[in-house]
Symmetry: D2
Subunit: 354 residues, 4 copies
């Protein structure tokens, strides 16, 4: 309360809180009176209190999310993908592939390469949200079909982005995990649809989303009945044009203290430039990430999008070589493809000679 | 180019630029060689160049947008709404109303009040994008119907938000202007749909969108054939939790130098707290805004959303009283409802006694 | 407290709070127990509490500053300068002049011009803090002498910057008001010295300082015995390279609600580019600023620093012409030089023919 | 140039550039003409060009710093401290100790502990810059004496902060390395003094300093003749109150590509909370940091400042245990005390039984 608040104004706030169904506990202090709201279940409309006369500030003590919180579920959640790979367990999962699916040869080639180098999941965009309307927007459903073919040949699970509610079903039909991109983190109709479609969801943190907002976006997915949610730190906006985004790795231990959901890091978008990807991939594993999602392209200078941040396959090999010992230094390891997937993959590797 | 770039690397960059259909002009300097790309039409994929060996940085000199730029159209664009009100001309247009349509009595009451106080446009959300899945999400189509009824009674034009591509047609059927909210500024499927539906669009700047990104989002609308776009500054994210958003009023003269499109300001979301709305509304008019969009509620403490930043009607009256002389100080005035709408409005005022 | 906090951990926190001399009030809630600290006098070391086991978060409810707060002093403070001009009253005070004092002719010329156009205070740097060691660093004491000469001839008060503790005395000897620049807002030895020297202080907000930090920096000055402090909003750092700084005008009504100190705005540094200065100057007055500090140079393209944001004298004339009616629209006016100063000034104007 | 710039305006810009002693190379493009400035030696006052008519934007291509750049010196700089420890070589140097020196027993105790656990440098503030004037401000010269005693007993080198120009000499007399804190990164009088005093300097990145500004601040030190500069990433300001600072680890590989100077990370200030320190310390080593500076206190809950982010000695032991294998995973190791220092240290360890 303001220090000039009258006893009547204080009483009015107490009344409103009780009217909302909560307990109110006034604490007169030296400068002013604070009123504690007891029993907050995450549904309090604080704006209603802020609007009352004599109220100076509404300070939130309890968290506005429920099902995603550690209070709701103490132990870590693990998400199992279609090929048996587990995210959120002891193994650090590598997801790799091009920014966009550009054609059959490109995607089958890179899928085989990243699989042989240690990836368990293939990334690749079929629908691309682009800042400019004049940029390449993806191959659409044809891209999804090519991803499915790559899965058959390699045993990799597929993660690819859905960009609108109507498109979720199609993506879910082909993909093992639906990606919600940073620009769509607060696209609620999209989140609701993704929450109902029965496939794991990789939810990227918005460009300037707070951790609380990220967790509330995840709450949209869980509240629709989908517990298989993986968070992704991909860099936040900052003031220095030289670093474009700041990969906020502190978010990893922070998120792990607040939620039971797994979290992975995207050092490609998080840095925007190839030479910074491997150092930040190493750092993310060291900070405790449950996985990495990395852009790798067979020929980055020819990439139709994000070429500057895509690794050459041999750079990805080096990344894997560095990250293994780092994972082991903190009691983890790099996840590997389960046996059946592996067997399929070996066969695929033989056939990907095109 | 990097200072260690070899002549071969420089030649390779020149080749790629020419291969892309542009001119290349190398300029050897003291520290390193710069290569100018001549003839950029806004379609250059800079990532392709960034990926080449020896390239240190790609610096953009020309703008990535076209139709929204002052170069494309020298004179100011003006947008005329259904009730004849013009945005982007000499008159500063006041848009006012509640955050959300909550019921028939509420919306008809506030519509009559803001109309009598000087507003030309009624705002009010029927579909609400809310950070938490547990918050009030709007009345939906019923809300649109009530807005249309308010228009009939008052002569006000209606602006309300569309939150997903499928919903655009319904909103366009009822509204005079479709709002794209800050969270959806880069929701491209939504922008494309809104660009094709034939109604003016109010495009809000994203929470941490640069001016370039805002203009590129507007380019999506224009490139679909819709020239009737109004930009809206509504505050950007900053580091000080005490001010929540920072209403970036410098964006107003800046946008006016870069584009021919009108721009309005939203001091309600821009500040988040009632006592700051009127000072910032005045400041926005003084900075050259073509209009204001303000939250006004008949009874803010009972509002279902955004109560803390909604003005009481008498506070809106004061805002109008302040903004008129400020508009005149810079050679403008406050827009008024054109005659026919006015006549209808007077009748409506008589009937809104409910 | 964490939701897993044991009763022993809760008791320990209560003990520590009481040991620190405050009251402790535990409030068991649905998710977890909150403990209110009662009687905070602004000296609580919250870090000590954050370090205790079972503590999840320390949330500050009372303000950490004292003498600068509205609670400490209800009515507005006003600061009277050497020439009788009052900052913080009804009159909006214009301060104008070049970024740096460059020579005798330049400073006497521009002083006479801005005085005749309506300024009451002359700004001009003698000591310049420059980002690069290779930039012009100011004329030093010679610059102070020239400022004093300009004061004698025009009746303007002088504001100029002190950049190190040892330099404060010299600046105080010549200037009517000591400026603490944005980079030095948290230079505590400098603040302490400025707080003891007996001249009013113009304290600029740091590049990314929160309002709380700005007020705590002012508290350093007041706690040394100097009540004559004027705050200055000069733009904060943001993510958009196109706007350089964001002039945070919401800070003006916000600061006025938290403190009794006057606040002025610097639209020159706040925007960094000449064409944006006048719109933002108007906006600052409309938002309630007690004054403006503006860079004006007789020949901006030849300025040794900040040429791009310096107004031509005729642009400053236009700024004054716009700001007068805006001030009157909100019940204020532009401050004028008191009679004696005015008389001196007229004489000076006659002699400034050099 | 603006697209409406006249040929005369273009010629004028060319003249000014040539007048400044550089070459000018106009490049007419599709939208507008760009003019390249050739021969930039880092001393160009771009503001002078920005002020010319018809100029739209001045875009910097070459870097404004010189001696700190990789162009100036290709190979990595290494800095050797008084006890023979080398920063910037293969060994990752651990610096540890309390936020502030609080008393003899405290500092001797913790010095012995961190030394035995693997630190090579003791940190500890004697002069503390505090946001509030009412917080503990350090023991001053007495603190320096205690640090010197701790060095004698342990063989550790000492790093401690200087907060004002006059204090540099005293700090340099006792310390092996002078720390310039984040708030003082642009305190130029302090930098100049520190550049002349002949001791290595640890320069912390400012709260919202760009990498370019950090390197320009370092340039102040080098241009005064001090080549022994170590940069320090300590977290930058962000929009999420939950993470306080964002430890910008991408800065590490970025800085290493731009400058030859070593860079270390401060995960204590970078995160502000104890449980995040060890994960981020690991991440910093994985990202390629040349060292860590970590707050460790014998009894954090009793610390006079920064208790919440100070590690317990056993937590520091765990940090060391994790960081060793991570350093080795990328071809480095943890630095150890050279023999003579070690011998002294062993003796000291015997005597620190107090």
């Amino acid at each position: 309360m303001d220090h000039r608040a009258t006893p009547e104004q204080i009483d009015r706030v107490v009344d409103v809180i009780e009217d909302m169904g909560y307990g109110a506990k006034p604490m007169p202090g030296r400068q002013r009176t604070a009123i504690g709201l007891v029993g907050n279940d995450g549904r309090v409309e604080s704006a209603r209190l802020e609007g009352l006369e004599g109220v100076r500030e509404v300070i939130k003590v309890s968290k506005p999310y429920k099902q995603v919180s550690r209070e709701w579920r103490e132990e870590d959640s693990v998400v199992t993908l279609g090929n048996g790979v587990v995210i959120g367990g002891r193994g650090v999962v590598l997801m790799a592939g091009p920014c966009a699916v550009e054609g059959r040869e490109q995607i089958l080639d890179i899928a085989a390469q990243v699989r042989n180098l240690g990836a368990c999941v293939l990334r690749g965009g079929a629908f691309k949200p682009r800042t400019s309307p004049y940029s390449f927007q993806g191959l659409g459903v044809r891209g999804l079909e090519l991803l499915a073919e790559a899965r058959e040949r390699t045993g990799l699970a597929i993660v690819t982005e859905a960009v609108e509610p109507e498109g979720v079903a199609a993506v879910a039909e082909y993909a093992d995990m639906i990606q919600i991109g940073a620009r769509n983190m607060q696209n609620y109709p999209l989140l609701k649809r993704a929450g109902r479609v029965g496939k794991p969801v990789l939810l990227k943190r918005g460009m300037s989303a707070t951790i609380t907002e990220l967790l509330l976006a995840a709450e949209y997915l869980l509240s629709e009945g989908n517990p298989n949610v993986i968070l992704c730190e991909r860099g936040v906006r900052s003031f220095d044009p030289q670093t474009r985004n700041v990969l906020d790795l502190t978010a990893i231990p922070l998120v792990k203290s607040l939620t039971h959901l797994p979290i992975v890091a995207d050092p490609s978008h998080g840095t925007g430039v190839r030479t910074k990807v491997t150092p930040m991939a190493r750092a993310a594993v060291a900070a405790g990430a449950d996985g990495l999602i990395v852009e790798v392209h067979p020929d980055p200078p020819e990439a139709l999008s994000d070429g500057a941040q895509s690794l050459y396959p041999e750079q990805f090999a080096e990344l894997v070589a560095h990250c293994g010992p780092i994972a082991r230094a903190i009691g983890r390891n790099l996840a590997t493809l389960p046996e059946p997937a592996l067997t399929g993959a070996v066969k695929a590797a033989v056939h990907t000679t095109m």
